[in-house]
Subunit: 312 residues, 2 copies
Amino acid sequence: MESRHLRYALALAEHQHFGRAAAALGIAQPPLSQQIAALERELGARLFDRTARGVFPTAAGEAFLARARRALAEMSAAVSDAGRAARGETGRLRLGFIGSALLELLPAVLGTFIRDRPGVRLGLQEMSTRRSTAALLAGELDLAIGRGAPRGAGAEDLVSVTVGRDHLVAVVGAAHPFAGQAKVSLEQLKGQHLIVAPAEEEPTVAAWLAGLLGEGADTPARAGGVTEAWDAHTIIGLASCGVGVGLGPTCLRVAARPDVRVCEVSPRVELPELVMSFRAQDRSPVLAAFLDITRERCPGVADRLERHLGTR
Amino acid sequence: MESRHLRYALALAEHQHFGRAAAALGIAQPPLSQQIAALERELGARLFDRTARGVFPTAAGEAFLARARRALAEMSAAVSDAGRAARGETGRLRLGFIGSALLELLPAVLGTFIRDRPGVRLGLQEMSTRRSTAALLAGELDLAIGRGAPRGAGAEDLVSVTVGRDHLVAVVGAAHPFAGQAKVSLEQLKGQHLIVAPAEEEPTVAAWLAGLLGEGADTPARAGGVTEAWDAHTIIGLASCGVGVGLGPTCLRVAARPDVRVCEVSPRVELPELVMSFRAQDRSPVLAAFLDITRERCPGVADRLERHLGTR
DNA sequence: CGAGGCGATATCCAGGAGATATCGTTGGCG
DNA sequence: CGCCAACGATATCTCCTGGATATCGCCTCG
């Protein structure tokens, strides 16, 4: 039995007339008679009563037609669902990102994405660069935003694009001696208690910090000590109440509150760039849509993305 | 798009391998490749990723497959539903009957029918012979049990079979003078208050009664008066409390309670027979099943039914 | 009782589903 | 590093079957 038989039976039930049903189907009347007869033979049951006043479904026909309608509805839904999924209008996008992405990149992109793709289920999870890279390779994420290009086993299966480049800034409370300064020198930082991201989660920042403070077991002691804070808002919060000097990426400026001051660090310390990564073989249209929007909303990213996507 | 494409896509998703999926489908591998390619071309979307490790559905493929499974399930349900309906295992049987049928005929048949055909929705409605005949012709009933063969317009479209033949009996309370008698003569009845079915609903009984009491406007006055009761239990109830003498078909014996006595009327008055009617062109398997059971449970009916059904 | 409408049947044709053979690519393994 | 095996895609041919045309049989209605 093919879906053709369902379509023919439904047309016949609708028109109650072989000739008109066949015309509506775009075929001649004899093939319709044959197909209906073949269907009835296969089912071993008469589906239609051919009377002088018209063609009417039997009880078996009614039961069959009810199911047939649903079957055809499912089939056309299959087509439209597949189309929507292929166009990226439905589906899922699982995104792992470091907190910094929440300050500039994601606000610029997510709003447009959610408005344009209301049918897409977005999964957002803040996580360290290390974890998001691993989750991406394991297929648990579709997109990762981290700091520094992924390295290590499997990294060659990923496409990574720089989506932001920033440097270190210092955050202090309004009452702090640095508060009035536009710049803070490295020398000035050396005596201060520092608030930074944990070394194991942001190794590149930690490495720079080690260079600043000097290597060795006694490093924190040479300075004013180090407090580790997991996210930007905590760094700012701690700085605002005078715990110490917060150090973090430029995007801390966006999260800054009225009661803190953000100072440039002089000389400028470039941080590993913000990198967006996805699986090179991932052809997901939802991902493509997200990348499209990223391209539109972040002009600087466009050409770098083109280079990678062009090769796909 | 045909259901073949759905089956092929599902097989491919299941086996994740063109060759094995084709083997499972009983076809060679190239046709499967072609059909999948044609499906993807028609949808304008790639449904499967052909990788070195196997063939996996894309997001669009997942969406399509989910609908495809349901569509095929509906199709096979259409087949089995039609089969069940054709075998009379599901469906509906609307039955209109006079109360007398509840006393012997229906108890003998309904139990078996309900047990044998649990999937059939039974519609039972007590109604007069006149109403059930009209409803049958209007297509509002599938089967009617009444007294006397249907007459009038449309009666020739009905098949009617006698399913019971009975005569008049009298019912009296245990304290009534007739209570000890096995027979009551017509002469004895003439002075009594009679309890009978309404004339407009059971014209044949009423006609007999008119003959018994004599025609004319003053008929009730010549006897002890007439009370009309719509059903057997009411007749018996009224008789038991001494209102008068109940008159009704033999099957009143079945409904008789300990506090009433049933007497034969002498000489015997034959009542119009109980008749089961259905539309001659009705090929409903549920109706056929009901008639089958009637044939089994009521041996006397069998040959009369055969005669009618043989000509269908 | 004849005409017209309708579904079934007979016959022929062509499109396409499927079979066979082969190719191109890729991944694994010696 | 290169060969081989596996797998999906492609090419070509065959044959089935869905569909078109012509016609028949039957029923209804004027």
